[in-house]
């Protein structure tokens, strides 16, 4: 069985869905961060798959950018985690609802 682009896309779709679901349902801030990371990597996979399929390196370059951005995002996310914990003594995102109308 040859691995076609469809396989890549299905894996990527599953990874993204898992990540998105994690972002929506998980209560722990750290887990939410990890889920976002998962979504970013799913996108990366998608980019690389198409890069390979279309023989165009732009997708790979773009993936490297995304990784870089993900690193920054992780750093800010962790800083927010520490700040949130210091303020609320908890990492439950449902309790961070000060902006409630």
């Amino acid at each position: 069985m040859t691995i076609t682009i469809n396989h890549y896309l299905i894996v990527s779709f599953l990874l993204f869905s898992i990540g998105f679901l994690g972002v929506l349902v998980r209560r722990n801030f750290l887990t939410v961060l990890m889920s976002i990371e998962l979504m970013l990597n799913a996108v990366n996979l998608n980019l690389i798959a198409f890069s390979r399929r279309l023989s165009d390196l732009t997708g790979q370059v773009f993936a490297v950018f995304v990784i870089t951005i993900a690193a920054g995002e992780a750093a800010i996310g962790l800083a927010l985690t520490i700040s949130l914990f210091r303020q609320r003594k908890t990492l439950n995102v449902e309790e961070a609802d000060t902006m409630k109308g």
Partner: protein
């Protein structure tokens, strides 16, 4: 010299400021404060003594060390004024203005009203409307400043002696200097408004000096009375000024009179009213019927004040004003008639009251009113020069008489009732002789000052002809002649009771009688001398004798269209008139001499007993004061007050209250509208928004995951829609 004219009023002003400041700084509270004692006041008021012991109850007092400084400033400033005034007169008499010109010094523009838009009254003259502070030197103002400063100076000197013991010394001299300043502004003013300033200034000083002993109720009341009665006259005066401004568009004497004289027919119809208004002012200031009542009461002031203000200078301001406006008056024959009748009536009326008064100063006061009547009579018949001539001679002999009476009062330590005097001729000889000379002068004894001026008036009245009432001229002449006899009678009654016969007071009082100090007798002698020679500037008949007529002739501008020039009386007629007046005066003098000096007042007593009603009426001054009190003070004042109160309560209060009611009703409606409509709208909007946001706020959970879910769902929907409806 004429350019230094402004110095004449300036010196007294400086003197006033210096004296006033020095007094204010140097005065200290009296050691013996005046205790309020209504009984004592009343007793003093009833006995009519104003000099009692003026220094016993003063509130403040002049620092004794400052006294000589006060005298020095007060007298010195007026002395400088005299010098410069005589310099100015020299210019008018023989110097640069001798040809009859006038000299106006404009000090500064006082009121600038812009350009005259209406040219209806003064055609072809788009004049600027303005009033300057400007002084005018011509023969009339020169004559006035001459005797005002000189008599004023003598009275200042006299005051040093007379007021010597008074603790308000500095205040007195400050007021007196202020008076000199105002009077000089009055006579030197070059327009009606500045004249009015001086006019009000002398009125103020008159008030201040009448009420000089302000802790005595009658003096304070007399001051107020003078002030209020003068206000009535001033009201007329200022209406007249308005009228002149409306007619001529300017208030400057030169312009007004020149315009009026050049085009009489244009102004003559309006001038009667204007002149009558001006004359109302003159009536107030110069104490003519019906506004004369303040002058006899004004004797409550110190005697030198009575001499200066209420005899020699201020009260002649009305005559001066009428003479100044002679052009206007000559164009208004009806107004002239009123002036002549009022003057003649006042002369006779006041002279009869003077017959029965027992207060030495009151007799002189009524005499002053009577003589002022003479002056107005002269102006009324067109003899303005004779009027001004009498103003001048009257200033000399009446000042002398008042100062003499002051000397008598001084000698008797405050006694003013002539029934308690007598035989003073031998004890206070200088006073007696000077008083007698002045009395002879006022009585019209030949070759003294009063003879010439009174004769000039009588001759003019005899010649007068009123087209409105042909019989009036001779009637006025008869009244004036009879008044001359009355004058001679009451003046010699005064002399008889005061200086002749035997002393009627107690022995103890007699021992205290003393002649006044030199500072008082020297002015008396000078004034007596002037009472003798003052008349020789206006000798009739003799060729070139009428110097004053020549001197004053420039102020009588010839009218265009020409009035018939008053023809010179025949010499024989003039001699006859003189003989008549001398005869009448002689009869008066002899009657007074035999009735009072020889007969001990037996005949007058029998006359009084025979006609008690007449005597009581004269003695009580015809009840004019009571009449005014009943009609104006009680009637109009209090009755009017009640009427006004009723009006106030029913009409004014009613109007106010109904307006209040209306306002309240309206405010109720407005508040309801505000509450239900305006507030309702505002609250309705708010409620609507509130209801709306209740729905939307539910979406704002504050949870990031919910937002992410919505975003995801939205993205899903958009993508699905894209895929499906592509």
């Amino acid at each position: 010299m004429k350019n230094a004219l402004f110095l004449v009023p300036l010196f007294p002003l400086v003197g006033f400021l210096a004296n006033g400041l020095l007094y204010a700084l140097g005065a200290r509270p009296a050691r013996r404060d005046f205790k309020h004692d209504p009984h004592g006041e009343q007793a003093a008021a009833e006995s009519g003594k104003d000099e009692g012991h003026p220094h016993a109850h003063m509130h403040g007092e002049t620092h004794p060390r400052f006294k000589s400084i006060h005298s020095f400033i007060g007298v010195g400033s007026v002395a400088l004024s005299v010098l410069f005034a005589f310099g100015a007169i020299f210019d008018v008499g023989v110097g640069t203005l001798a040809s009859g010109g006038s000299h106006v010094i404009t000090l500064y523009r006082w009121i600038a009203l812009g350009v005259n838009q209406s040219t209806s009254q003064v055609p072809g003259k788009a004049a600027e409307w303005f009033v300057d502070v400007a002084l005018r030197l011509d023969s009339l103002s020169a004559l006035m400043i001459a005797f005002v400063t000189f008599v004023g100076f003598l009275i200042h000197v006299y005051s040093i002696g007379y007021m010597g013991h008074d603790r308000g010394y500095g205040r007195y001299f400050a007021y007196l200097n202020l008076f000199m300043f105002s009077m000089l502004v009055l006579v030197l003013a070059s327009n009606f408004l500045l004249l009015f300033v001086g006019w009000e200034g002398v009125g103020l000083c008159s008030y201040l000096l009448i009420g000089y002993d302000y802790h005595k109720k009658f003096a304070a009341d007399a001051g107020k009375k003078a002030f209020v009665v003068n206000r009535i006259g001033d009201f007329g005066f200022i209406l007249g000024i308005f009228g002149i401004f409306a007619l001529f568009g300017t208030l400057d004497f030169g312009q007004v009179f020149a315009t009026a004289a050049a085009t009489p027919e244009r102004f003559a119809p309006y001038l009667t009213l204007v002149c009558l208004c001006l004359f109302v002012g003159a009536c107030g200031k110069s104490a003519q019927v019906p506004l004369y009542v303040w002058l006899p009461d004004a004797m409550a002031g110190p005697t030198p004040v009575s001499a200066l203000i209420h005899a020699a200078t201020m009260v002649t301001a009305g005559v001066y004003m009428v003479a100044r406006c002679n052009v206007l008056f000559r164009l208004a024959p009806d107004a002239m008639l009123v002036v002549a009748v009022i003057g003649g009536f006042t002369a006779l009326f006041a002279a009869t009251i003077g017959l029965a008064q027992n207060d030495i100063k009151k007799v002189l006061a009524y005499s002053t009113v009577s003589q002022l009547g003479y002056m107005f009579l002269a102006c009324g018949v067109g003899a303005f020069v004779a009027g001004m001539f009498h103003v001048m001679t009257h200033a000399f002999f009446k000042a002398c008489l008042f100062l003499g009476s002051g000397s008598v009062i001084h000698a008797l330590s405050g006694e003013q009732d002539i029934r308690k005097m007598g035989g003073l001729g031998l004890k206070i000889r200088t006073t007696y002789i000077t008083f007698l000379i002045a009395t002879l002068a006022i009585a019209g004894v030949p070759f003294l000052a009063g003879f010439f001026s009174k004769d000039a008036i009588l001759a003019a009245v005899f010649e007068a002809h009123f087209s409105q009432a042909p019989w009036l001229g001779k009637t006025l002449w008869a009244a004036a002649l009879f008044t001359a006899g009355l004058t001679a009678f009451y003046m010699f009654r005064l002399v008889s009771l005061t200086f002749w016969g035997t002393y009627r007071g107690s022995r103890e009082e007699e021992a205290h009688i003393h002649e006044s100090p030199r500072s008082m007798t020297v002015p008396l002698v000078i004034l007596a001398f002037l009472s003798i020679v003052g008349g020789y500037v206006g000798v009739p008949i003799v060729k070139g004798g009428d110097q004053i007529g020549k001197f004053l002739s420039p102020i009588l501008l010839p009218l265009a269209g020409g009035e018939a020039h008053a023809h010179e009386a025949a010499v024989s007629a003039e001699l006859l008139l003189m003989a008549a007046s001398v005869a009448v005066a002689t009869v008066g003098i002899l009657l007074a001499f035999f009735w009072y000096a020889k007969g001990n007042g037996e005949v007058p007593r029998r006359i009084a007993a025979a006609w008690p009603g007449v005597y009581q009426a004269v003695y009580n001054k015809y009840y004019v004061d009571e009449f005014y009190d009943a009609v104006f003070v009680e009637g109009l004042g209090k009755g009017g007050g009640r009427l006004l109160w009723d009006f106030d309560r029913s009409v004014v209060d009613g109007a106010v209250n109904s307006v209040a009611l209306l306002t309240r009703a309206f405010s109720w409606v407005a508040s309801a509208f505000d509450q239900y409509v305006v507030d309702g709208a505002v609250n309705g909007v708010a409620d609507t928004i509130q209801a709306g946001y209740q729905v939307f706020r539910k979406a704002q959970t504050g949870r990031v995951q919910n937002y992410a879910l919505v975003m995801g769902a939205g993205l899903f929907c958009v993508v699905m829609a894209y895929l499906l409806f592509r």
